[in-house]
Amino acid sequence: MTIRIKNISFSYPDGSRALHNLSLTIETGECVAITGHNGSGKTTLVKHLNGLLKPDNGDVLVNDSNTKACKTGQLARQVALLFQNPDDQICKQTVRDEIAFGPKNLGFEKDKINLLVEVSLALFDLVQYKNHNPHDLGYSERKRTAMASIVAMDSPVLIFDEPTAGLDHLEIELLLKVFEKLQRENKTIIVISHDVDFIAENMDRTITLANGEKIFDGPVRNLFQDDSLLARCGLLAPQMVQLSKSCKLPSAALSPQEFISLVQD
């Protein structure tokens, strides 16, 4: 499942330019972070990956088929996209039904739906809430429900917009376990996030946007080491990078373990 974006540009109907001449390729099984200012075009970009938006110029190829020729309904089988606010999608009266909504729309068989739902419930530690009204739960449980509903669609590519916002430490650990499982299944994970510490420790590659243009695409470390680049996209350096810099290490560490091995002789 390769995603190829070729020279796409996109402007909203009101004339505001959101993406400009952007190209990139994401291969199967990659774990990619998309970073940038608010309004830099991150959300607009990921909406192109599942056909919610079609580029004005250029092409988006998902598994070699052009999104211009596909409906979002079909593309959802390939690319699942989770929006930031769970309350923008919760429409069912139990957590279980909410998670089953996506798989049902994709037309899966009943047994498969049940299996996917049960697995997702367990992954996000929601089994105890499966018959609850999602709106009776707290924000972070609703967020987990929304994430579970995307994972249950079993698509080869999963996109999460700000997955860690509003989660506590234990819930982020839970999310990391889910990411590990998805990686083992060779799924592609794309995360839009401001959480630099999370990105530094858990993502391989980052794509950085500013004013609708790609200003960086490469290993996470290279972005965080570059102060001028960080300033351009309005990011602070992760804790470990700040520590590395303060200790004047020749290259920035991304995790405590790495830091220790760098300072050891």
Partner: protein, 253 residues
């Protein structure tokens, strides 16, 4: 918002003065049995109001938008089908137009013309914030200002939310086209997040209002000034009296 920000004497009037003027013109047009001739005078007065208020071009566009469909339906339906029709005026390929129906349509359109142009003179020249301040002052209630202001302010972000919800559900495989039955079943997933989310959010919004002293008692002040004058107050009284007395004179004559 229809409000147009430009200097003009109508803009400077107190919102209530313009509202009472609207009330008076509606009473005159509908309740005093004016003839076509007097109605055209009244209409001319409204036109004068709009031109001198500096809102002619915007009003003209709006009037065309409102009246074009009205005329298109009103003239043929009444001209051809009004039950009171008896006197033929002319026929066109065997379709006969009658005097009574056309006359009725003309009169209705003129009456509507008066009310709508007086309304436009109000909405184009009154900033909602001025109306809210005036209403809050007169009623002594901050709630009314909230009820008028909040919808105007929130409308845009709510419309954006509708689009976001639609995107979020389509990303989960929801189809928004197809046959009518299918489209009806898609209504729930699009409406429920919007409606339930908004209603659940009331809790937070009302807490935010309460902790800012929404219900505090005692005298209030206002940063925004809505100028009023004795002349305006007196003319409002006069116009109100006329709006009540003239229809009564007509009915009891």
């Amino acid at each position: 918002m229809l409000f147009i920000d430009r200097p003009g004497w109508l803009h400077k009037l107190h919102p209530f003065t313009k509202l009472v003027l609207l009330l008076l013109s509606a009473a005159l047009a509908y309740l005093t049995g004016l003839s076509i001739g007097s109605l055209s005078l009244l209409l001319a007065a409204c036109l004068l109001l709009i031109i001198s208020g500096g809102i002619f071009s915007v009003s003209a566009k709006m009037v065309i938008r409102i009246f074009l469909p009205l005329i298109l339906f009103m003239v043929p339906i009444h001209g051809l089908l009004n039950p009171a029709n008896t006197t033929e005026i002319f026929s066109f390929h065997g379709i006969v137009f009658y005097r009574e129906g056309l006359f009725f349509a003309l009169k209705t359109l003129m009456q509507l013309g008066v009310v709508i142009s007086a309304s436009l003179a109000f909405v184009f020249t009154t900033h909602p914030a001025d109306l809210i301040t005036a209403v809050s002052h007169a009623s002594g209630s901050i709630s009314i200002g909230y009820l008028l202001g909040f919808p105007l302010l929130l409308l845009e972000s709510m419309r954006e939310r509708v689009v976001t919800i639609q995107n979020a559900q389509r990303a989960r495989g929801l189809e928004i086209d197809g046959n009518i039955f299918r489209r009806f079943t898609s209504l729930g997933p699009l409406l429920f997040p919007l409606l339930i989310g908004s209603i659940v959010g009331i809790e937070q919004r009302s807490i935010a209002l309460e902790v800012r002293g929404f219900k505090i008692h005692g005298p209030k002040t206002s940063l925004r000034l809505v100028p009023d004058s004795l002349l305006q107050k007196l003319s409002r009284r006069l116009m109100l009296t006329l709006a009540v007395i003239l229809p009564m004179l007509h009915f009891f004559r």
